[in-house]
């Protein structure tokens, strides 16, 4: 009885530590150019012992899978997913992406060519046939929107996809990093804003029993920003960045 009470007490202490760490990771004001420090990475999750629900969503690093792992995969999202299709080297999977795609557009914009040759939405495309895994990247095009509204729409989209693909592993990919120049010149496309979105996405993935992939840690340089030589507009990537992204996916899978 005493052992059980002790275990319960330990668990209560762990929860309060997890809450404290989560509040530490809330983004503050963007640092000024003169005192710029690496952006706080709100996408780093608490450890497994502190927040078991969130940790189940995180994907540990493993020995690299080969391309065949992705043969039953579908990638869905915006122009960055289009770039991934062109430059990652992964060609045996399905791609459903379009320039300027948003989470709202994923359910409403007929921008994807379906298997029957007609145009449909991303959600329709993902419902055409069974997939073993689905990777989703959305958010940068609507980052000026209210975070709650974005998460609400994203959650509804996930519900629809999960209902259509009950046996599928769904990977929610975080928003990707931007360059320092972009971040410091824009309140909208700032790393603090991106981290805010990603914190919310991380929680959503856990709530929906999906996996979460932290592309900020995968693609940012040591300073927490997209390297300047890997982008021309601070947001889109050079081919080598997509290869880095692909290498990350090959070592982070379930």
């Amino acid at each position: 009885m005493i052992m059980i009470l002790s275990l319960l007490q330990q668990s209560a202490c762990s929860s309060s530590i997890s809450t404290a760490k989560a509040s530490e990771n809330q983004p503050g004001a963007s640092p000024s150019a003169d005192t710029a420090a690496p952006p706080a990475s709100a996408s780093v999750p608490p450890s497994a012992s502190e927040s078991p629900e969130v940790s189940k969503t995180d994907v540990p690093e493993k020995t690299a899978a080969d391309d065949s792992y992705f043969s039953d995969a579908a990638f869905a999202g915006n122009s960055l997913v289009d770039g991934f299709r062109l430059f990652s080297g992964l060609s045996g999977c399905a791609y459903y992406a379009a320039t300027s795609m948003t989470v709202a557009g994923a359910s409403s914009k007929a921008a994807i060519k379906l298997d029957n040759g007609q145009m449909g939405t991303i959600v329709q495309a993902l419902s055409q046939k069974p997939f073993g895994k689905i990777y989703i990247l959305l958010g940068i095009n609507e980052i000026g929107s209210n975070t709650s509204a974005f998460i609400d729409q994203y959650g509804k989209m996930l519900d629809t996809i999960i209902a259509a693909q009950p046996n599928c592993k769904i990977y929610v990919m975080s928003l990707t990093p931007v360059s320092r120049t972009k971040s410091e010149s824009s309140d909208t496309y700032s790393m603090s804003r991106i981290n805010e979105y990603n914190t919310a996405l991380h929680k959503l993935a856990a709530d929906k029993a999906c996996y979460y992939l932290d592309l900020v840690s995968a693609l940012a340089g040591p300073d927490g920003y997209l390297p300047a030589d890997e982008t021309t507009d601070g947001v889109h990537f050079a081919p080598k960045t997509y290869q880095k992204w692909c290498a990350y996916l090959k070592t982070h899978y379930v």
């Binding site: 960055l80 289009d82 770039g83 299709r85 430059f87």
Partner: protein
């Protein structure tokens, strides 16, 4: 009789000249690798370009692989509409189909970037999209004159 022979001879000479001109226009050989490299070095492009594989080319342009005997296609980061698409086609009919697909790509890019990045639309309007015999060129750049100069030099 002499007059008739003279007329026939003149017609033969004219025919030979005409045939020679037509043959010359359709037989320019382009080295697509060299052309691609020269275009990239020309200063005509502002974005980072990366080469894509044949399968991606077929998907992107909607062209049948049987229509294209060789190609070099470089796409941008997505921040711009800049692109280099150089195709050597199986024959003139295949080239006509690829040209049609290239023109369709211009239209779809205009639609995609109209609200996403409106500043890119003039580049699509100034794009080089043309057929030269069995070759088709799709070149969207920040400086069409520089790109055209490279094409003109290679085509001599």
């Amino acid at each position: 009789m002499k007059r008739t022979v003279s007329i026939i001879l003149a017609l033969c000479v004219l025919t030979l000249i005409f045939t020679g001109c037509t043959k010359k226009a359709g037989t320019v050989e382009y080295n697509l690798k060299t052309l691609s490299s020269d275009l990239q070095k020309s200063g005509a492009f502002s974005d980072i370009l990366g080469e894509i594989d044949q399968k991606s080319v077929s998907t992107l342009y909607g062209v049948a692989s049987a229509d294209v005997s060789d190609c070099v296609v470089l796409c941008s980061t997505g921040a711009t509409t800049e692109e280099i698409g150089l195709f050597k086609c199986a024959d003139a009919d295949a080239a006509a189909r690829v040209l049609k697909a290239a023109k369709a790509r211009i239209d779809s890019q205009k639609e995609a970037y109209q609200s996403y990045a409106p500043a890119e639309i003039p580049k699509l309007g100034d794009a080089i999209v043309r057929q030269d015999g069995v070759y088709v060129f799709y070149i969207v750049s920040a400086d069409t004159a520089k790109a055209q100069a490279v094409l003109d030099k290679q085509g001599k």
